[in-house]
């Protein structure tokens, strides 16, 4: 599951993520990070579900971090997509492929949110969720 972590200004200087990773022994993968002196926004991939995921979310919330679950990392606009394939081979983790009727498929478990496909799409049909 991918999570969006929103940090308030007073949290930006604290190593909250590192502390939780060490304490929970969870292998979080940072997909995107925007941090400055005023606020922070991280997108992380957590290889957890069920109670373990709930437990992780509570740990962040206990530190004052707002947590949103992201069922999708990128959105594909089916009206704009022409099923050309310009995004498929540039994907460094092979998360994109054609499904039945040449519909573009995204494997959320592989996607690391690197944005390569967003830029590679000639029709701007792919956006970060």
């Amino acid at each position: 599951m991918n999570l969006r972590l929103l940090y308030r200004p007073d949290h930006v200087k604290k190593p909250i993520l590192a502390e939780i990773v060490l304490r929970k022994k969870v292998r979080l993968n940072i997909l995107d990070a925007k941090v400055n002196g005023q606020k922070g926004e991280l997108i992380v991939s957590a290889p957890l579900d069920g109670e373990q995921l709930e437990d992780l979310i509570k740990a962040f919330e206990a530190e004052g971090v707002t947590v949103e679950t992201l069922p999708r990392i990128v959105d594909i606009d089916r009206g704009k997509c022409t099923s050309c394939g310009a995004c498929i081979s540039p994907c460094p983790v092979s998360a994109l492929s054609f499904g039945p009727s040449d519909a573009l498929l995204l494997d959320e478990n592989r996607c690391v949110g690197c944005r390569v496909c967003v830029d590679a799409c000639p029709f701007r049909a792919i956006k970060m969720a």
Partner: protein, 390 residues
């Protein structure tokens, strides 16, 4: 190719059209024709099939539209003209302009260009027109700003100097950084391969001898009817790099088959849906119409080399490229297309159905296209350099 190029030994255009009018014509897409050849052999299929339809939907940068705005009052002889902030070519009469697919917005840059203006026009959206002028006695006005739609225009003619490359080189990148090209995003160290063209559905490859496609050939263009008006720029048919110049009425077309597009850090373009009906007038034409992805070869070039003569990394087939994996040396590399096979198939099927429904007849070209043409480089002459320096 047959002995006399364009010889109608199997059937004549008039016979094909008679059969279409009577509802008796056999019309197959190129994919279906290959299946027919597989099941009954080339000779029998050539005897039975009247027309093979083709299709492609890909980025075609040498595309654009001539527009006539009509005259304002007082009238203006436009010096510069912008459509949604995209500059249009104005070296023409007072209110004629050419909007080219790769012209880019002066406010939005890479994100919006002439291709998008054409798509917006075809979609019926309003376009902001801005023009300036120096003013003359007959055209006193010096500035105008208004909006237009496709319907407001007297003429809107898609006229593309180079479309439908017979086939095209595939691309990879041997450098250590990601590069952004008109062949899309290319990952470092031969991280991926991209390619363009529809392979066995390719309009020009299906008549590789240029026996039927010529000036005046009626085609499917952008969802409407178009015509081949000559060889395209850089036409080089002897190397299977044939191209065509086409025109059609934008007012008949559909945004499903004309789409503005952006290649990241390269620029804007127009994706064009184009299909040509190939009449099976002789066995030579049948033979090229039956070519399959495995027969259609192309080079994978290293676009990381900033030269006109990019080195070929491998010669491959459209069959291998379309499989999604290409073997280069010991590595298996992901490959994907830049043009849409899905829409290319739709074009070929739509054209087939139009013919079967008697809405589209074929015609003998007024003149065949050259089947040999040198593609020359631009040579920088020493004398010109001296002249520039002085």
């Amino acid at each position: 190719m047959s002995d006399v190029r364009g010889s109608e030994t199997l059937r004549k255009y008039e016979e094909i059209n008679d059969r279409i009018r009577r509802g008796e014509a056999t019309v197959l897409t190129a994919d279906e024709f290959i299946e027919a050849v597989d099941s009954s052999g080339l000779q029998k299929a050539a005897k039975e099939v009247d027309v093979v339809t083709t299709g492609t939907f890909g980025a075609m940068c040498s595309s654009g539209a001539f527009l006539n705005f009509g005259h304002s009052d007082p009238p203006i002889k436009m010096l510069h003209c912008w459509l949604n902030d995209v500059p249009a070519y104005r070296g023409l009469a007072a209110v004629d302009a050419y909007i080219g697919a790769t012209a880019m917005s002066e406010t939005k840059g890479f994100e919006y260009g002439g291709g998008h203006v054409i798509e917006d026009l075809v979609s019926g959206r309003e376009i902001k027109v801005r023009a300036d002028a120096y003013g003359t006695d007959c055209y006193p006005r010096r500035y105008i700003e208004t909006t237009i739609t496709l319907e407001d225009l007297n003429q809107a003619i898609l006229l593309n100097p180079r479309n439908a490359y017979e086939h095209y080189n595939a691309a990879t990148n041997g450098t250590s950084r990601t590069i952004f090209t008109y062949m899309g995003t290319l990952l470092p160290n031969h991280g991926n391969v991209t390619f363009s063209g529809s392979g066995q559905l390719s309009p020009l490859y299906k008549d590789s001898g240029f026996e039927t496609i010529g000036i005046g050939t009626k085609i499917f263009l952008g969802g409407g009817v178009g015509y081949v008006i000559g060889e395209g720029t850089q036409h080089c048919p002897q190397k299977q790099f044939g191209t065509i110049m086409v025109r059609g009425d934008l007012k008949q077309m559909s945004a499903h088959y004309l789409r503005g597009a952006t290649f990241h850090r390269y620029g804007t373009t127009l994706y064009v849906g184009l299909g040509i009906p190939v009449p099976i007038i002789n066995e030579g034409v049948a033979r090229t119409a039956a070519l399959r992805d495995s027969d259609i070869l192309t080079d994978i070039l290293d676009y990381g080399v900033p030269s006109r003569n990019r080195p070929a990394v491998k010669r491959t087939s459209y069959e291998e490229l379309k499989s999604g994996k290409v073997r280069i040396g010991d590595s298996e590399i992901n490959s994907s297309s830049l043009s849409s096979f899905k829409i290319a198939e739709e074009v070929a099927e739509d054209l087939r159905d139009r013919i079967l429904e008697k809405r589209f007849l074929l015609n003998r070209p007024a003149e065949l296209l050259p089947n040999e043409r040198e593609f020359k480089p631009l040579i920088e002459k020493a004398s010109a350099k001296i002249a520039v320096r002085s």
